[in-house]
């Protein structure tokens, strides 16, 4: 994405173990005009996707709390192969420690559940701005 990038240019990989929540987020993204959305139910599949089809995505939106591999673990593994891929962490926790942990593990942004469409849009716009800058 170059300068003047817009929300609709985002290509998102949604990582979330709960299917309803995943569907809900997909719909929210679609409402924002984002059409390229891929999904993975867990970290392992997400890593496989990134490994084999990274051209199809330019941002990862991932839930923190997942069984087997949580969001932070996924992010750490991702950073070993791709230090720049924008990563939006979705967290159910709003406490300071969690936010600090998310920030220090190299997220591009984080968003607290439950979030409104406006909050998601704002967070994505911040990421778009960061990528552009």
């Amino acid at each position: 994405m170059g300068n003047g990038a817009e929300l609709k240019d985002l290509k998102v990989l949604l990582v979330e173990d709960q299917s309803e929540a995943r569907a809900m987020m997909r719909n929210m993204l679609a409402e924002l005009g984002i059409t390229q959305i891929f999904e993975a139910p867990d970290g392992k599949e997400a890593l496989q996707f990134i490994d084999s089809a990274y051209e199809f995505i330019n941002i990862i939106m991932c839930d923190w709390n997942m069984p087997s591999m949580n969001g932070v673990e996924l992010l750490r593994q991702l950073r070993t192969v791709d230090p720049d891929m924008p990563f939006l962490m979705v967290t159910g926790r709003g406490d300071l420690e969690s936010i600090v942990e998310a920030k220090t593990s190299g997220v591009t942004g984080y968003i607290k559940k439950p979030f409104s469409a406006a909050q998601l849009e704002a967070k994505l716009r911040i990421i778009v701005h960061r990528i552009a800058a």
């Binding site: 809900m24 159910g92 942004g109 406006a118 909050q119 716009r125 911040i126 701005h129």
Partner: protein, 694 residues
């Protein structure tokens, strides 16, 4: 024959007379030697007593074995002639000074004896002492009586030690904070024979009324019939007991641990009854507070857990409702239903938000604020919350009372207090808000002693309402606990207050009794620093208005204009963050950790317009107030973007004074979205003005 018989009788009589005379002489003799021989006999039976005799010419006559032992020098002198004079010299040489107590002891033993001409205590052998007294006998002889009184001295000292010890013990018992009472079960009715000061104070009776009376009489003064009964029973049975009793003389009860111990003598007979009353009120209170804290902590965790999961569900519901309404024709019945569902979901979300406010107690670094000023600012908001029948008073000291905290938190605390007070006074009453600096003694016991050395501010509210009983008091901060009718309150108001108070590092204390109103006091550590946000001057003197410590974010795509506006706001003393477009404004707010008070945004901007930016911005920072600016008249024909109805708008070109006035006005508004009220309070949504002047 007759003559012979008489003769015989006469002989007999003569014999009797002779015997009588002989006896008389013997008796006389005995009397004559009386004392001396007595003393000799005594000395035989009393091996500890030495005797030394001098004759009338003051020459040594005799000494018994014990005397030789006491005075070995007599042996040596025996060959020579030991005179009374040299003997006395010897005694004087060996005499010791003896103290008052020993003297008393000797006096006690010597009192039965005759007057003495000489009395001394001399030392003999190692550490042993001997009491010597001299007497003149009838035959002008002198007898010295020597007694080993080493034991006596030892005993006397021991006695003294005991005496002092018991004196000290008595004093200690008197001075003890523990109530101590002793009774004598050997006497009828088991009368009290001792009660210390603390006990007298405890039962609020003078000692003379306690000592001599029986237990029943004394225990009746305890104001706790059950406790008195069980104690009395234990005394009657002669059993040891250890119970805890609450004595509520006035509003606040005092707790005591009472230990009754029967003491038996060597023959296993009941000898004494000792009652020890130790006050445990403080400990009880601390335990209760710890329990309360733990309970609220647990409830907080529970609430937070529920809120999080519930929020997930809510966001799914909300998401699908949103999707469904996109698919449905606007204005149809189903779309109306969906709108209702969305409103309800929003309300549910605000409930969970309030639950979370109760559970998060993280103290984060906060600004220094003047509590007085913040509270005074709340006045205009509090008044409309209270009914007209409630008299509202506010008392703040004229000087600053600085604390570290956030003004909006203080506002939320006060508003929830006010709503609570209003509902406690359906028939009217009085409501007072007070700020003051408190003395150490006024601080509640829940504040640890070592912290009490610091300066504390107190923010309190008092109402003349119905008050609360103990049971309600214990649960007053529990989430969802409410005494209000269904639909009138969620039971989250005071829970939220509890969370907010914890967040500003405060301690809350509630005093209430049925029919006596309620005082809720928040104690907060005072700060030595100056408030970081200070408004100097006022709106009448706009040129000199200063809004130090407030932050404004300016979103404007025209660089010159951005700089100009930024300069004006900096002149007001504000911290200014500049952004050239919407996305940058969002990114800048994320990087800024403090509070952003105002977003001043251009309406028409490429990519993201001002209205959309305001919506997104407020979704992340609810508390930020928005001011739009535009070169087009607001909602005029030329405007490409429609402003929200209640928006505040500044027309370009901006004028310093009107900008300053509007910024000041918006800063003075308070947010009261976090009051525990289900019903709509019209005044809670009041606005200081509609869409602003252009």
């Amino acid at each position: 024959m007759k003559d012979y018989a008489w003769l015989a009788l006469g002989f007999e009589t003569v014999l009797l007379v002779v015997a009588g005379v002989a006896l008389y002489f013997l008796w006389r003799q005995k009397n004559k030697w009386g004392r001396v021989s007595d003393l000799f006999e005594d000395s035989m039976g009393m091996p500890g007593r030495g005797l030394v005799f001098f004759d009338a010419e003051e020459k040594f006559l005799k000494a018994n074995r014990q005397a030789y032992e006491f005075l070995p020098f007599i042996h040596k002198e025996q060959g020579d002639i030991l005179t009374l004079d040299s003997f006395l010299n010897y005694l004087y040489d060996h005499a010791i000074e003896y103290d008052e107590s020993l003297k008393n002891a000797i006096d006690k033993t010597a009192r039965q004896q005759d007057s003495q001409d000489f009395r001394e205590v001399i030392e003999w052998g190692e550490g042993s002492i001997c009491h010597v007294e001299a007497k003149k006998t009838e035959g002008k002889r002198v007898v010295f009586v020597l007694d080993d009184i080493s034991d006596l001295r030892e005993h006397e000292q021991q006695f003294l030690r005991l005496n002092r010890y018991s004196h000290e013990l008595t004093q200690a018992i008197e001075a003890a904070a523990t109530g101590i009472i002793i009774s004598d079960p050997k006497t009828e009715n088991n009368p009290v024979i001792f009660a210390n000061d603390a006990f007298c104070k405890l039962v609020e009776m003078p000692r003379r009324e306690i000592v001599g009376n029986d237990w029943a009489f004394v225990l009746d003064a305890l104001d706790n019939h059950d406790a008195a009964q069980s104690l009395f029973q234990a005394i009657k049975e002669g059993e040891a007991t250890d119970i805890e009793v609450a004595i509520s003389r006035e509003a606040s009860p005092r707790w005591f641990s009472v230990k009754l111990t029967p003491v038996k003598d060597s023959a296993e007979r009941l000898d004494l009854f000792i009652g020890i009353f130790t006050e445990t009120t403080e400990q009880k209170l601390r335990e209760a507070e710890a329990f309360q804290g733990q309970k609220l902590e647990a409830l907080g965790q529970l609430a937070a857990g529920v809120a999080h999961d519930f929020n997930n569900v809510l966001s799914i519901i909300d998401g699908y409702v949103r999707l469904a309404s996109n698919e449905i024709e606007e204005g149809s019945k189903v779309s109306d239903y969906l709108e209702h569902t969305r409103v309800a979901t929003k309300r549910a979300a605000s409930l969970t938000q309030r639950m979370l406010m109760f559970s998060r107690h993280k103290i984060v670094t906060q600004d220094v604020i003047d509590l007085c000023e913040v509270v005074r600012e709340q006045e205009t908001l509090l008044r409309p919350l209270l009914d007209a029948s409630i008299r509202f008073t506010m008392r703040t000291p004229p000087r600053q009372v600085c604390i570290e905290g956030a003004p909006d938190k203080v506002g939320q605390i006060l508003m929830n207090f006010a709503v609570n007070a209003r509902d406690a006074m359906p028939d009217g009453g009085a409501f007072m808000v007070e700020v003051k600096e408190v003395e150490k003694e006024e601080l509640p016991s829940s504040i640890p002693e070592e912290e009490k050395e610091n300066r504390f501010a107190c923010l309190s509210v008092t109402d003349t309402g119905m008050g609360m009983d103990k049971e309600t008091l214990n649960r007053v901060f529990d989430p969802f606990f409410t005494t209000k009718e269904q639909g009138k309150g969620t039971g989250l108001g005071l829970s939220m207050v509890y969370g907010l108070v914890k967040e500003i590092g405060g301690t809350i204390d509630v005093q209430s009794a049925p029919g006596r109103g309620t005082t809720m006091a928040v104690y907060i550590l005072m700060s030595d620093k100056e408030p970081s946000r200070q408004v100097a001057g006022n709106v009448e003197d706009i040129k000199n208005l200063q809004l130090n410590g407030y932050t404004v974010l300016v979103a404007e795509d025209e660089p010159d204009l951005r700089m100009l506006v930024g300069g004006m706001l900096e002149k007001l003393g504000m911290t200014v963050i500049e952004a050239s477009n919407g996305n940058e404004a969002l990114a800048k707010q994320e990087d800024f950790e403090g509070k952003i008070d105002i977003l001043l945004t251009d309406v028409v901007m490429p990519e993201l317009n001002g209205v959309k930016l305001a919506e997104l911005f407020q979704s992340l920072r609810e508390e930020t107030k928005i001011i739009f600016m535009s070169g087009y008249p607001a909602n005029g024909k030329m405007a490409r973007v429609e402003l929200p109805e209640d928006a505040y708008f500044m027309a370009k070109p901006l004028e310093y004074e009107s900008l300053a006035r509007l910024v000041y006005q918006r800063l003075r508004e308070n947010d009261n979205s976090n009051i525990d009220e289900e019903r709509e309070v019209a005044s809670a949504h009041w606005q200081t003005g509609g869409p602003a002047e252009q």
